[in-house]
Point group: C2
Chain length 205, copies 2
């Protein structure tokens, strides 16, 4: 009922709920119970209800949740009521793939710039975005007030580039480089790396 303190695990699950709700909406449904949601997400109904209850009572006894309503509520909770402009640093394959990934737009995420140091890449076009030199990053980040960056540079320079981003105002980094970034704790870092995921599965095989 109060947004006093919400465990981090709960926050991590909200985007998954939102995603599933979007799927349900696309299937033409208007209402869903915690039980059905749980089955589709591979969780438990109790957990979904508990998680949502940190933010309010969005359901109705007997019938469950209004899908469109809950989508709106979750979007508000996740600060999705405005579009967040995001930059990508590193114009390798991965950086380019992310730059024209179609799934961002509908989720309030807009890629506004792509940077690299390689003179062979600078100036080339990735969809509607031109690759620019990292030297121009400072101006761009400060002018647009960018708070979120995606990092797809080689591991060897990731720390250094991340520190620059922070210096220029970035407060959240999605890190695709295979290193643990050491940054001030007020900077949010999410690490994505296929290797540990695959290795984890290797253990179980």
């Amino acid at each position: 009922m109060k947004d006093d303190f919400v465990p981090d695990v709960v926050i991590s699950r909200l985007p998954l709920y939102l995603q599933e709700l979007n799927h349900l909406a696309k299937e033409g449904l208007h209402t869903v119970s915690s039980k059905v949601m749980a089955a589709r997400l591979g969780t438990t109904a109790a957990q979904i209800r508990k998680d949502l209850s940190y933010f309010g009572g969005f359901g109705k006894q007997g019938s469950g949740y209004q899908i469109y309503d809950l989508i709106e509520q979750l979007q508000k909770i996740l600060n999705m009521d405005h579009v967040w402009q995001v930059v990508v640093v590193g114009a390798g394959d991965l950086g380019r793939a992310l730059t024209h990934y179609q799934g961002f737009a509908s989720q309030g995420i807009e890629i506004v710039a792509l940077f690299d140091v390689d003179p062979k890449l600078v100036g080339t076009q990735v969809g509607s975005i031109a690759v620019r030199h990292v030297d121009e990053m400072e101006d761009e980040l400060k002018n647009l007030g960018i708070k979120i960056a995606i990092l797809t540079v080689p591991g060897g320079v990731a720390q250094e580039v991340a520190e620059k981003l922070v210096k220029f105002g970035v407060r959240a980094i999605l890190n695709y480089a295979p290193v643990s970034l050491m940054l001030p704790e007020e900077v949010h870092v999410q690490h994505i790396d296929p290797v540990p995921h695959i290795q984890k599965m290797m253990y179980y095989l």
Copy 2:
């Protein structure tokens, strides 16, 4: 001391330890304490020692862990004593980026095939790998006994393709499609999606 039961969270952390140890080795170090490791990974020394203790006592009082020795031990635990052949399904930007990602080889992961349905993509070359039609998947997977697949197809067909993979013998899927796959529970699934990660950070900004 016994591999009786090891919590899943612990398994998730082993690859991160391994990664950090590889970094330390590359920096020329031979020995490391749980305290130093913890500082570099942003964890606690107690957790690292506890995690490792599920598998044995690898350290020495007073001096810590032999880096090369611990790397070997972790590789053994994670079944990395042989190379795992992996296929990628979906030859879009992301699939191609992953197919020639340089970081796999050193971690015992070998991408052996890339499949798609798009006739414009089939036959094209991605590094040393030729894109093949999904119809050829069954033969390839069965012949090579492939157990691990990376899925980078559009969300709309991910479930269907995943079921095919399972039918052809795959037991672990790294899923880049923005959907929760519904598969038999003996199949291991790891889901990677930048959107939820960014949305989680949005909450905190």
